[in-house]
Amino acid sequence: MDWFGAEIAAPMVAARAVHLAASAITAGVLIFDATVLAPAPSPVPQAPSIGSQLRRVVWFALAVSVASGLAWFVLQAAAMSGLALSEAIAPDMLQTVLVETQFGQVMLVRLLCVIVLAFCLGLDRIAALQRLALAAALGFVGAIAWTGHAGATAGGEGVVHVAADVLHLWAAAAWTGGLLALVLLLVALGRDPEASSARIVAVRRFSALGLASVGTLLVTGAIHSWILVGSLRLMFVTAYGRLLMVKLALFALMLALATINRLWLAPRLETGATARAAAMLTGTAAIELLLAIAVFAIVGALGTQHPAAHFLNT
């Protein structure tokens, strides 16, 4: 298969894309819960009704990320060993990948995060465990940075690269999972005029979360591109660069929608045509969410490509 001139190994890209999106949604919904729905002194009014729905979303996303993560691990083991998939799933080969490679060790740490997260979600009546659940989810998503190109960048630049990628992953999770949670919340609140204040508070807080996420994504994305692409020319002549440009175009569309939401629709929630503005806001946020999913498909492919910068020195 061929995407924008990039050779695509479909099963690997699909497993990575689904895994990254599901992991981001797992953490992002919990981030939304902690920063939008229920920041300590003033939880969003009428929000508790959506709490159990979001909890089911987190469980489902976690289950999907575990299944797709296993698929990614097995496909990666086959790619690393150069063996056919049927040969690579031999127990001692999987054990070698799990124990002896950085990729395997990081996946092991992430599996521990899943176990802690599942434990905390199961016992979430206790407030301290909710914070631990959020921490475990952030660990689960942030650790992905060490499986990729950043985990292999040498020296001081490597520290910057990994830090940028961890922040990038968290911000992407906050935006994507937050969008999903926001859409579900707006749908749940429906056209109820009495839910107006809940809508206003939730959208205002999500705007702040979104702005912080977008700022973080731009800065950390620029650092990542600086290290892995290196020059504008390589953006055009390498498959990695072209995929990255598609990703940036999708991101720009998301930004445009977010700008409409923030500057035009969100203020209307507080003035006259509340119901109509709420319906439109739900629609644009849903489209933004679909674009975010498309971004994850591109990211699934990017990690399998040789970074553009590779071609600088050869």
């Binding site: 690393m80 490679t101 950085q102 950043a150 985990g151 591109s225």
Partner: protein, 118 residues
């Protein structure tokens, strides 16, 4: 989001500025040096790469002018460095084939030669 469009411009400016770059395990240098001539057959070949390697999936093989394997088969990996001991293999052109997996899960391979003899 006027502020974020400014940041977009800043981000693109950063891209335009470009930067030095390193990614994937590429051969940095080797001993004996790539393409060079040495007077005596070396006891080992060492390769240095641009990235850290996964020992479980990185190896190097060396053949002599007659096409016989002269490496002991046991590749030693330490960080971004990989070496293998050699048996005596006479003079002539030695071929070094390497295949490495870097810690970012990408495989690269390559080969080079060096000359042994007067």
């Amino acid at each position: 989001m006027g502020r974020s469009s400014l940041m977009t411009i800043a981000g693109l400016a950063l891209l335009l500025a470009g930067g030095q770059a390193r990614a994937h395990a590429m051969l940095d240098h080797a001993d004996p040096k790539v393409g060079n001539k040495v007077s005596k057959a070396p006891h080992e070949v060492t390769l240095w790469f641009s990235q850290k390697l996964e020992p479980a999936f990185s190896k190097v093989t060396v053949t002599n002018a007659a096409g016989e394997r002269v490496d002991t088969g046991k590749t030693r990996v330490s960080g971004s460095q990989m070496s293998v001991s050699l048996r005596a293999g006479g003079s002539g052109t030695y071929h070094v084939e390497w295949h490495v997996l870097s810690v970012d899960t990408h495989t690269t391979d390559g080969n080079f030669t060096f000359q042994v003899g007067q």
